[in-house]
Amino acid sequence: AQKVTQVQSTGSSQWGEVTLHCSYETSEYFYVILWYKQLFSGEMVFLIYQTSFDTQNQRNSRYSVVFQKSLKSISLVISASQPEDSGTYFCALSEPHSNYQLIWGSGTKLIIKP
């Protein structure tokens, strides 16, 4: 069974708000969810993280998350989307018992049309 689950693809038009969903399985009290964007070149770029101890949703520039801890769900929200936001977005789970190695979702391919 997938430990981290993402939808395969989605799209939007420029300037819209985009929401990418991620659900995960964990029995840890403390864990971290990280979001990365993979460019078409293959480069992986870190975007934002949320820990299970954070009481507020995190924000970093145009990126923010909606963390629903009880549902084991976290969404990445991209505001004022641009065509250059197109790429594949990965959600990753990091847990202490596995030495914080990243457990990856399968990624969501996002296309932003001008």
Partner: protein
């Protein structure tokens, strides 16, 4: 500051040949990670080093794959007797430490695209 550097960017080998992939972590980062990415399996953790010491290689195939970190400025992933199923993008990442974010945040190199014919 240079990011994580991986060389070569692309490598094509014949079945049965050896492939060595290089990674130079961000200066000052004490942890180095190797991942493999394929269409079928997605992103898979292979191994990681902390302060050059191997900590967790639970994701490494037991045969033909080995990783080393002889000094703090580079790590190598070696695949002996390459097979077509080894074709993948191999990603290297580094992080400052393991004490939690942001120190724990991993920064990735561009990857090495390996094709085994």
């Amino acid at each position: 500051n240079a990011g994580v550097i991986q060389t070569p960017r692309h490598k094509v080998t014949g079945k049965g040949q050896e492939a060595t992939l290089w990674c130079e972590p961000i200066s000052g980062h004490s942890a180095v990670f190797w991942y493999r990415q394929t269409i079928v399996q997605g992103l898979e953790f292979l191994t990681y080093f902390r302060n050059q010491a191997p900590i967790d290689d639970s994701g490494m195939p037991k045969e033909r794959f080995s990783a080393q970190m002889p000094n703090q400025s580079h790590s190598t992933l070696k695949i002996q007797s390459t097979q077509p199923q080894d074709s993948a993008v191999y990603l290297c990442a580094s992080s400052l430490d393991r004490l939690g974010p942001p120190q724990d945040t991993q920064y990735f190199g561009p990857g090495t695209r390996l094709l085994v014919l």
